[in-house]
């Protein structure tokens, strides 16, 4: 239900925290967006924007998680495959 698009904060203005606005860059177009809900945001960071409001600051470390997870899965798959390959097949086991 919620179109939330990532954009880069290029400037911030306003003294009253609830009226603070930021200029956010979305692939080259700039729109004025309320940053009242991300008081900690700094210029250069990315935010998720919905209906004219930034609702979160994108955590750059966590942003890689999707790919780290894949890598781990890949490593585990490799481990499982190599475990199978080195296991002694039952039929040839000498008792």
């Amino acid at each position: 239900m919620c179109l939330g698009i990532p954009g880069k904060v290029v400037s911030i203005e306003g003294d009253d925290p609830l009226y603070k606005m930021g200029k956010i860059d979305f692939g080259g177009i700039i729109k004025e967006i309320s940053v009242a809900y991300v008081p900690e945001v700094e210029i250069g960071q990315y935010v998720v924007v919905h209906a004219g409001f930034a609702i979160s600051v994108i955590d750059e470390d966590e942003a890689n998680q999707i790919f780290e997870y894949l890598k781990e899965m890949g490593e585990m798959a490799d481990l499982a495959e190599s475990a199978e390959a080195t296991a002694i097949p039952q039929s040839t086991k000498q008792s």
Partner: protein
């Protein structure tokens, strides 16, 4: 575009698809609650890449689809008044009420304007003191902080000509109602990443526990969806029922405290009628008494007083809970099309029926 393109990487997508195929051993039904997620699934054809054993049910997470007919009728009535500038998100303009929608109201001379943000409506109120500006405040918890800020600014500035027609809904009560239904077919849930960006994840622990259903909070890009589906399938296969967060780059356990604060200052929990599903107690948000002056229903009369009627042929309630697919509706594609919707799920781009109509004719022909 950064933080978008990476999550549309086809190789990574294929790898997640392979992982899902390797993990799944029996049929499962997963519901994605959010319309934005439905949109991604059909736009990228994700469901075509997934194994047949996996059934995706498109849930009622689309404010367009679940805003009650009475509220639409009220919106239409207010918008028709000559002294009113009626502002709305674009999504709502084509939703059919009992007889009219906001578009035809515009055709008849109503001043109906699409805005991108509720703050645009407040701006109009400042600039047009001789007019009544009414903003259609719909949406889930994601949009509530934005709408709350509009109300807050209006009150702070003492604007006399601004009000909100509120029809907010909340995700967890809807998920609870769906999981509690006797014929419930949902075995796993993909929760809405942007709702949780605002509200955090704690509300979902009791749901997962009580219904023994895994809940994975998922983002909206193809890789987010695929990873979320994988995590959900893994839980199902392993017999777990936990709340997991896939959308870690945006969702924190505590959500967004600044947004929650203003949301709670302006709104309180109310009972809400969901179109197609009926009334779900404590499932909506309404304006607090301190904001009574900004409530359009106080100025223009209550939506409940209107004599609203749903199309008798629309089975949206059954579709939104996954009991039927749009293909099983006798009106689907015949009497009910995107040009001529009988009910809400055919209107919104991510309503289940519209999604099926636009993108799914491929698989219906082959099934």
């Amino acid at each position: 575009m950064k933080y978008l393109d990476e999550y549309r990487n086809p190789d990574a997508a294929q790898r997640y698809v392979q992982a899902i195929r390797k993990t799944i051993t029996r049929p499962w039904s997963i519901m994605e609650i959010c319309g934005g997620q439905t949109h991604t699934i059909v736009k990228y054809g994700i469901d075509q890449l997934l194994p047949d054993k996996l059934r995706l049910i498109h849930g009622p997470g689309c404010p367009v689809c679940v805003t009650s007919t009475a509220v639409i009728d009220k919106a239409v009535e207010i918008a028709a008044r000559p002294e009113v500038i009626f502002c709305s998100f674009g999504d709502m303009l084509r939703v059919p009420g009992s007889e009219h929608d906001l578009f035809s109201t515009k055709a008849s001379g109503g001043d109906v304007r699409v805005v991108y943000s509720p703050l645009d409506a407040v701006k109009l109120a400042r600039e047009n003191p001789q007019k009544e500006i009414v903003f259609f405040a719909i949406g889930f918890e994601t949009t509530a902080p934005a709408n709350a800020m509009a109300a807050h600014h209006a009150k702070h500035e003492g604007l006399k000509n601004f009000s909100l027609l509120v029809s907010h809904v909340m995700a967890p009560p809807a998920m609870d109602a769906i999981l509690s239904a006797p014929q419930c077919q949902v075995q796993g849930f993909l929760a809405a990443g942007h709702v949780c960006t605002v509200m955090g994840t704690t509300e979902y622990d009791p749901l997962a526990e009580q219904h023994k259903t895994p809940i994975v909070i998922t983002g909206f890009e193809p890789l987010d969806m695929l990873q979320g589906i994988y995590m959900c399938i893994k839980q199902l296969e392993e017999g777990r029922f936990e709340v997991e967060n896939q959308y870690v780059r945006s969702v924190r356990r505590e959500g967004n405290p600044a947004a929650i604060k203003i949301l709670q200052d302006v709104f309180r929990v109310v009972d809400r009628t969901w179109r197609g599903l009926g009334e779900i107690p404590a499932s909506g948000l309404g304006l607090r008494d301190e904001y009574a002056d900004y409530d359009a229903e106080n100025r223009f009369g209550s939506a409940a007083d209107l004599d609203s009627q749903e199309s008798p042929e629309c089975i949206s309630g059954q579709i939104l809970q996954g009991f039927k697919t749009p293909h099983e509706c006798s009106a689907f594609g015949v009497k009910c099309t995107p040009e001529r919707p009988l009910g809400a799920p055919m209107v919104s781009a991510e309503g289940a029926c519209s999604a099926y109509y636009r993108y799914r004719r491929l698989s219906s022909d082959s099934s």
